[in-house]
Subunit: 426 residues, 2 copies
């Protein structure tokens, strides 16, 4: 089987290296040899730590996708549009299978690309696009094929998990850890895709499509990042028996498919609470299997190459499945559930100054909105000093909580808009 690799960054070079180093093993597993025949990058001369002699070199990746002597094109350029999309479309059009690690591309154009692949009779694999080396697409699409899934959720962004882990372990503020993470290479120079939750949302939209047999619907993902997570909230979480994690959660609800990415408080006894640093984890809830959790490295050359080569071995073995597990024509509409209808428990933190009757006023707001308190926490204060007043609230609708927060923000003695963090009681 002949492979053309578009993009020779760390992941591209790493993939070529695995195909070279593990060649015998791969051909024994695949029943045929897997050979790189063509590569494409902007700069031919750069040393990438892997021999590229004997491969056709293309400066134009789209040209390679269309014309190279290859059965499969591996797209490792990245980006939701532009060259990456052109490469994948050209490969499909010329009857080549595609393996991609491009989450933005699949999240934005997944259904259309799946349709094109189906029409052309080629396979579109993208295991590396979600949670790096964790075989989560394979597990959902094949291993759990006997299940109706009710939800799939996880820690989908290693940068955020690394930052939150260090904030908790070292008592540092977000900005300090982000600076350090950038210095150490765990966060990009422009970190917004990661820390604002967009990267996790891309992955979540793909997971939701596979789990529920729906069109990919990135536009409906509710997204909040971790910039607003404060050291104070991390400490209160700890005191309440929770940890703060950025989760992507997709669930079938009575109102449609809920897709949301935001900081969550999870019980510290939940397996996902122990997933630390750059590790990713995905949990699926199935009607037969119950709870299944997969944990591993979500990024980096090795884990990404592991997923890409796994996809290639599948193709070499003749395994070809519908992109999202069922034929494109069978995918149902996305039916997004409004975040207003989200039903869950909440943590709120008020900054208040000593004011007689304040707790009574807050309690009245809760009563008027039919929201009931589970616990309340306030440490000693001196008169006139600002202090945090923390509450956890029993399950209610998001829309009610927004009213509660609006009303509390207006109370005399409440200094700033209350912080609200959703609680997930896994």
């Amino acid at each position: 089987m002949k492979i053309a690799v578009a993009g020779l960054g760390t992941v591209g070079a790493g993939t070529v290296k695995v195909l070279q180093d593990n060649a015998d093993l791969l051909s024994s597993r695949s029943g045929r040899s897997i050979q790189v025949t063509a590569v494409s990058a902007r700069d031919k001369s750069r040393d990438r730590g892997v021999p590229l002699d004997g491969y056709a070199f293309f400066e134009d990746a789209v040209e390679m996708a269309a014309k190279a002597d290859a059965d499969v094109v591996v797209e490792l350029i990245g980006g939701e549009n532009g060259v990456a999309k052109d490469v994948v479309e050209a490969a499909i059009k010329s009857g080549k299978h595609v393996v991609t690690a491009n989450k933005a591309l699949v999240a934005h154009h997944g259904t259309a690309l799946a349709n094109a692949a189906e029409q052309a009779g080629v396979t579109l694999n993208y295991e590396a696009a979600v949670a790096g080396g964790i075989p989560v697409i394979k597990s959902l699409r094949e291993g759990l094929a006997g299940n109706k899934l009710s939800s799939v959720y996880g820690i989908l962004n290693g940068t955020c998990n690394y930052i939150l882990s260090r904030m908790r372990n070292e008592g540092l503020d977000f900005a300090e850890v982000l600076d350090d993470a950038q210095r150490l290479g765990f966060a990009e120079a422009d970190p917004s895709f990661d820390i604002d939750g967009v990267d996790a949302a891309h992955k979540l939209a793909i997971l939701a499509s596979v789990a529920f047999g729906r069109n990919v619907d990135f536009g409906s993902v509710y997204i909040e990042g971790i910039r607003q997570v404060s050291q104070l909230d991390i400490q209160f979480a700890e005191e309440l028996g929770y940890r703060i994690k950025l989760l992507g959660i997709a669930a079938e609800t009575d109102h449609g498919i809920e897709q949301r990415v935001h900081p969550c408080m999870v019980p510290d006894s939940a397996p996902i609470a122990s997933v630390e640093d750059v590790f990713n984890a995905v949990v699926a809830e199935g009607d037969q299997v119950g709870t299944l959790m997969l944990e591993g490295r979500g990024a980096g050359a090795g884990p990404t190459a592991s997923a890409v080569v796994g996809d290639l071995v599948d193709i070499a073995r003749g395994i070809s499945l519908p992109t999202f597990g069922i034929p494109v024509g069978d995918l149902r509409a996305a039916e997004p559930a409004s975040m207003d209808r989200h039903f869950g428990a909440y943590y709120i933190r008020l900054t208040v100054i000593d004011e007689p009757g304040l707790v009574a006023d807050v309690a009245a707001v809760l009563r008027d909105n039919d929201v009931s308190m589970e616990s309340i926490l306030q440490h000693g204060r001196d008169p006139g000093e600002q202090v945090s007043l923390v509450m956890t609230l029993h399950e209610t609708e998001e829309l009610r909580m927004v009213s509660v927060v609006d009303a509390i923000a207006d109370l005399k003695g409440v200094v700033e808009r209350p912080v609200m963090i959703r609680i997930e009681d896994f």
Copy 2:
């Protein structure tokens, strides 16, 4: 695709129910309908909570395997020999694919059955045989196909993990928890297969074959169960920052393939330490992916049916892989490593009476065997009273440790043979 189900216990009835309840979903995912056509059990009249009308009923499962109008035979009878083996052999002989949940059968006869299936051009799937609903065979055989694996290990027996979890959480002794587990249905009336480590060893032998491309070699698995784990050791483990788990561990070493099942001390910060109660977990270490952990339910009707139906959907989709990931002719010899050559860290607990110079004598034994101490722990004692003296020892060879324990057992003041538990520093 037509299915014949041999064995209608909870798992068999559960599998039939999933095939009925999720029929539309399964045919959308498979691209064809999956229909039960025949079933077999000893007693036709028993109510199994699932309608069986319209299925051919066979009292003789072997006859069904040979003669039923079916493309696939699902073997859910169990047992390493006898009817289960005859059923699988008859099915293969008559050109039917086989799906089985039978770990004993695959552990004892895996290579021979794989060879028979390969000769007959049929598929032999057994996802449910290892770790129940966790898609671990699929992950190793397909998802991680790009990796050279160096080790695979896990919590492979839910009964043992349940007992050890309760011993730790409730401070109870082994016998008490076992009694209660039997009463609650978490342990069998004859629990020896579980608590003596045989069931975990069956699963480990299968994992090792898939991970390393070797003949299945159950006979070479070193096996120790959990009967000897005492409350005292659980408490000392806690004090030292460890938890005691029954692990199955397979690894490539310089001396061959190590396969061992025994109680281990694992750091309480290791992800596998947090896998509690009846949950199973499997960890794979690959040259590309790094550490991957899969955690879920390892037994019960739902999880087992999930794995069985996943295997059926694979066959319906036309996915047919060599049983252990590569053709039988490519499987290398098992090359077992002797347990004497195992290299690792150790915990030992001595029961001693106050004796001047005892610690010096113990230290001399360690020195003479070139074993070095990492830590020593002893709580206050009254003169003449028996007391525990606990040590952790740096990595050394098992053979040396056996000499150390023999020599210490002979020392004056040492009351009984020291307890030795291996430490795994994941």
